[in-house]
Amino acid sequence: MNLIPDQLQAINWQLHHNNVLVNDALIAELTDHFAAAIAGRMATGEDFDAAGQHVLTQFGGWRGLADLQTQYVRAQNRAAWQAFGRIARQYVAGPRLLITLPLLTGTYWLLTQYGQRAFWALLILNVAICVVVGWADWNWKPDNQKLDWNRMYPADIRNRLAGLKWVANVTYVVALNVPIYLYLFFFPIFSERPFDGIYPVISAIGITAGYVAFACIAELTYRQNPLVRRFA
């Protein structure tokens, strides 16, 4: 038995607008489940509301759905961090160390030779890479339109951006901010002298880590990023 559009819309509305579920992927999966299960029960003579209530009970009510979302987000995030970690390990202890070491020494050399100018150039490069790598994420228009950053708690944002989206999001923020904060904390803003002492070491590590993090995300989001596919 197929549900009529109004009934499907009612299921969709209930799952979206009761402020319990925010993760779009999970809502889509549950909408299909509710529709199939309600249709199955209606085929035995039950009415739409009673069937819907029964299916909701099978999930443990709204509380059960909230718990399900928490578990879903945790599982997705854990899997995404593991995937990120597997690639990142290759850059610090695997075959890709051959990329990391020249990158690190090159960055260090630039910072010690050209000081502030090198720092700003590297930072601009960092932002440019972030834009290219993040293209896949900034193309998520439906999600982004719904995200109200000022009004949502971090937990809600994490729930909505589960899995790779969340990991990518955290990576952009950290990889962009670390070099900037290193600069602000360790070096006078208007100094023109070349960097020396421990600062260029810390700064080179921070900037290189940012590049490596972006490379990991680029590899994970390669399929949905036309810009990365073009540059690769």
Binding site: N2, L8, A28, E29, T31, D32, H33, A35, A36, A37, G40, V55, Q58, F59, G60, G64, D67, L68, Q71, Y72, A75, Q76, R78, A79
Partner: protein, 116 residues
């Protein structure tokens, strides 16, 4: 069967049941899994959705299941299927559970010892 006992017994074997069904059917969606279990056991076993989906999501996160989404009747349907790792894990876990059930059976069918 008492539903509380049923749920407790199911808890440890749910993931194996999912792996076994997917081994047999190649790909299935959540509701289909609940109905298949009901059908196979003539309604004796029912998997609640509150238990099924966390198990599916965990297996997916562990890399044992992969998903593909297809539009069916105007809504997105998420199909689960076994990955290569999942296929190996399914064989291992089914063997483990079968061995456990055989041993459990030996204990449950224990004959009263003869008193001398």
């Amino acid at each position: 069967m008492n539903s509380t006992n049923n749920a407790q017994l199911l808890k440890g074997s749910l993931s194996v049941m999912i792996l076994r069904l997917l081994e047999d059917r190649e790909r299935m969606y959540g509701y289909e899994i609940t109905q298949k279990v009901k059908e196979l056991t003539a309604g004796e076993l029912t998997i609640t959705e509150g238990a099924l989906y966390p198990a599916l999501h965990k297996l997916e996160a562990d890399g044992l299941l992969t998903t593909e989404t297809q539009i069916v009747d105007g809504r997105a349907r998420k199909y689960y299927s076994l990955t290569k790792t999942g296929q190996t894990a399914a064989v291992d876990r089914i063997a483990d559970l079968t061995a456990f059930l055989n041993n459990l059976n030996l204990v449950l069918n224990l004959k009263p010892s003869v008193q001398l």
